[in-house]
């Protein structure tokens, strides 16, 4: 019984990590962008674009690494477009984000059909054209250790490279944000662009860089979706993950580590939803699966209403900077 429960838990946590990976990366991207003062609704579009380009290039060249690079490039280009509209032309940031999401939805399918003629899908990648699960060192050695060995094998080892990359990105993002000069300036420009300007630092360049960094993260996330977790690109495969990542950013109060935990939590909910298909909970009765999938959104709304803690976004967010 106990073993069964342990395995169930391990499985759930394992699935959590896989689901949370694109969320974490997009959340880091959202944090960088929003901390610099730019609202970013277009995480979804960047994720989708990255997924498409990764799958396309991997399919055409057979190389996962080129696919990954392509995804990053595509996502960065979307970020630059967002920056062009919001920073250079001081356009409305939400409108620009919505536009980019539409562009991504449309272009990914149009180009996909043009290249592969499969109605929007890209060809299924063979195992060699994907990021395969990696067995970490010591897996065999630890096999004999009770409990820990199992956890190591089932939960920690055996993920694709990009999962580990994503997990690394969180402390890296945190480090950049809090311990580097760039991070200090970035956080400053989201609070008070004029203070940064009067300190002799270019607000424009700073914000563009924030968006570019975000683009890189989203690109990796997109690549994960199509050439690691999945084996091809399917239309709209981002399925709202970009918005959940945004919710995680808000939930984490625009801090990388906290947003990371929010992503894990949302990932966990998603993972067990399929398991808990209309389970019977004591007292509550039948819990519809849709309620579980709606939980991240409900929780974000409750948080935003200020009922559990007060979200404190960067002070200057959403306001274009004019000298």
């Amino acid at each position: 019984m106990m073993i069964d429960f342990l395995f169930q838990t391990l499985w759930a946590l394992d699935a959590t990590l896989r689901v949370a990976t694109p969320l974490m990366l997009c959340a880091m991207a959202g944090i960088f962008s929003e901390r610099s003062g730019i609202v970013d609704i277009s995480l979804e579009g960047k994720l989708l674009s990255g997924a498409f380009v990764a799958a396309t290039i991997a399919s055409l060249t057979g190389s996962v690494w080129l696919g990954l690079m392509g995804a990053i490039c595509a996502s960065v280009m979307m970020s630059l477009l967002h920056g062009f509209a919001c920073i250079t032309h001081r356009g409305d940031q939400v409108v620009s984000g919505v536009a980019i999401n539409f562009l991504a939805s449309g272009l990914t399918v149009i180009l996909g059909i043009a290249i592969f003629k499969r109605g929007g899908q890209t060809p299924t990648l063979s195992s060699g054209e994907r990021f395969r699960p990696i067995e970490l060192w010591f897996v065999d050695a630890l096999d004999n250790v009770p409990v820990i060995g199992t956890i190591y094998r089932e939960l920690i080892s055996g993920h694709s490279l990009l999962v580990y990359v994503a997990l690394l990105c969180v402390p890296i993002a945190s480090f950049i944000l809090y311990k580097s000069r760039f991070g200090l300036r970035l956080r400053a420009v989201g609070e008070s662009p004029i203070a940064v300007d009067s300190a002799g630092v270019s607000v424009t360049w700073l914000r563009y860089r924030a968006l570019i960094v975000g683009g890189v993260f989203c690109g990796i996330a997109g690549a994960y979706l199509s050439i690691s977790h999945g084996a091809n690109f399917v239309r709209e495969m981002s399925a709202g993950k970009g918005y959940i990542a945004l919710a995680a950013v808000i939930f984490g109060n625009w801090r990388p580590i906290r947003a990371f935990w929010a992503c894990l939590m949302f990932g966990f909910l998603d993972a067990i939803t399929s398991r808990l298909q209309d389970i019977d909970l004591p007292l509550i009765g039948e819990v519809p699966a849709q309620l579980m999938s709606a939980l991240p959104y409900i929780m974000t709304i409750i948080l935003l209403s200020g009922f559990i803690g007060r979200p404190s976004p960067p002070s200057a967010i959403g306001v274009p900077y004019k000298k």
Partner: protein, 523 residues
């Protein structure tokens, strides 16, 4: 309240000026903020730049610091021409600035704020130690110690200003510009600041002190330049001049209005303010135990430097804000912090309000003139007596008002943003005066308004007074207060300093009271 005269050492004796401005001009749209400014600053001195609000001082300093670009003119640093296109350029040339509104990140610590822009490496760790040491060193040299790890949001205003100064000094500033530094300080903090400035001068730093306070100029500066209406109107060695001369240069023409002002015939009390008090959102007391009254048929002028409680007072009296302490009685109605009020009910009770910031409150720039003409009255019959807005009625109404007040261009359908400042103000005045209010609250009625419109508006106010209206006039322009008021109440730091009769008042006394230097006899 006396400001201790800081000990003055003799200024620098170099012939070459450390900073020189030649024929600097700058316009914003139709408004010329700076016109052919010439300025010469000697190294190692404290140089004051004095002028009234709106004289163009801040614009000039922003040009010097790279936040604005001059339209014409040259800047020379140490004799060489300088091109300052951004703050980075200014900093590189050794110019540092402490702004009127602090440029600090509240969420950051002192250390982080000081490091911003000069972190000393891509990783913060290396720069942090160096900065902490530098802060300590500067703090000891100039008697300006701060805790590097304190959050700026926890610091009081005086300490925040210290951080700003330290930040400029850490960047190696040879010229330090201070824009209205004592506006937000207590007298003690101001004294401490002057001690610091003294030490700076002793260490060879050149200080540009921008202010409109005569006392400060006399207390600490070596030289002073006077600005008025966007131009430089005089340069003096401080020891060779006095507040009277400076005040005259600041204000310009003799204090005499062309308005025929018949003697007031005040009647019953229309407004009675009793121990009014209120707090800012940060918890500072911005109105402190304020009591006064205004009678029907008289104009009470409230004189004072901007930011001494006048704005909260007007907001409370017009129903935009609730008092925290005390109460006031308007036309028979008592209002304290528990009463439900809104500007709408105030208007219904014959109270008009001409706000001090017409762009922020008085007008909706994106609305057309005829829509602005009913702002605040849109729920009354001013918009026609029918269920829907009667556009023709409103257009006619606006056209009539525009004729009456000579508002140009005579087009009720023109966007408010297309009118000049004077005409915009006339729209506000026309609107608020239409219903013949019994009490009128007026703030800065002629700010940014041309001379012709000024005289027109002043005439309107006098006429209204003679019809029996009680008027509270808040203005930072002394001649306006002196020209219009029957009685004058001077405010400082949210309190009443003194109330004098209009006939007995003179600019010098008022100026000193406004600056918080002397206490007049209460009325």
């Amino acid at each position: 309240m006396m400001i201790d005269k800081a000990k003055k050492t003799s200024g620098g004796d170099t012939a070459c000026y450390i900073l020189e401005l030649q024929k600097i001009s700058k316009s914003f749209g139709l408004v010329q903020a700076n016109k052919n400014i010439d300025l010469q600053i000697e190294a190692g001195t404290i140089h004051g730049i004095i002028g009234e609000n709106g004289a163009g001082k801040s614009t000039l300093m922003n040009i010097l610091y790279g936040l604005h670009r001059a339209d014409t003119g040259e800047m020379l640093i140490d004799g060489t021409k300088a091109k300052i296109k951004s703050s980075a350029d200014a900093l590189a040339l050794g110019i540092g600035m402490v702004h009127q509104h602090f440029m600090l990140i509240n969420r950051f610590s002192v250390l982080e704020n000081v490091m911003l822009g000069s972190e000393g490496g891509s990783l913060l760790s290396s720069g942090k130690i160096a900065t902490v040491n530098k802060l300590k060193e500067l703090g000891q040299t100039f008697d300006m110690e701060v805790d590097p790890n304190a959050l700026v949001s926890d610091l009081n205003v005086g300490m925040r200003q210290r951080v700003e100064i330290l930040k400029a000094l850490k960047g190696g500033a040879k010229i330090l510009i201070l824009d209205e530094p004592t506006g937000v300080l207590t007298p003690q903090e101001a004294t401490q600041l002057f001690d610091i400035l003294d030490k700076l001068r002793a260490n060879g730093v050149t200080v540009l002190l921008i202010t409109h306070k005569l006392a400060e100029i006399m207390a600490i500066t070596d030289n002073v330049s006077i600005m008025r209406g966007g131009e430089m109107v005089g340069h003096r060695k401080t020891s060779n001049t006095d507040p009277q001369e400076l005040a005259e240069l600041m204000v310009g023409r003799k204090v005499l209005l062309n308005v025929e002002k018949p003697k007031a015939k005040p009647k019953e009390i229309a407004l009675n303010v009793n121990s009014l008090g209120c707090f800012s959102s940060r918890g500072h007391k911005v109105l402190d135990d304020l009591s006064f009254h205004v009678k029907a048929g008289e104009i009470l002028g409230i004189a004072g430097v901007s930011g001494n409680g006048q704005t909260p007072l007007m907001e409370i009296l017009s129903g935009m804000r609730k008092p925290d302490e005390g109460y006031f009685e308007i036309l028979g109605k008592k209002i304290d912090r528990d009463t439900k009020v809104s500007p709408f009910t105030m208007r219904e009770n014959s109270i008009g309000h001409i706000p001090e910031d017409r762009h922020k409150h008085g007008l909706i720039l994106g609305f057309e003139a005829y829509e602005n003409m009913v702002l605040g009255f849109h729920n009354t019959e001013m918009t026609g007596g029918k269920k829907l807005l009667d556009k023709n009625h409103m257009l006619m109404h606006a056209a009539e008002r525009m004729d009456e007040y000579d508002i140009r261009p005579r087009n009720p359908k023109l966007l408010a943003s297309s009118f000049s400042g004077g005409n915009q103000q006339k729209i506000v005045v026309a609107r608020e005066l239409y219903k013949n209010p019994k009490l009128l609250i007026v703030g800065e009625p002629t700010r940014g308004v041309d001379v012709g419109a000024i005289e027109f508006i002043h005439k309107q106010l006098i006429e209204l007074r003679d019809q029996g209206c009680a008027i509270i006039l808040v203005s930072v322009e002394l001649d306006e207060i002196l020209g219009l008021s029957d009685r004058i109440l001077v405010m400082n730091k949210g309190q009443e300093v003194s109330t004098v009769n209009g006939d007995d008042a003179n600019p010098k006394d008022l100026g000193l009271m406004m600056a918080g230097i002397s206490q007049g006899a209460s009325n």
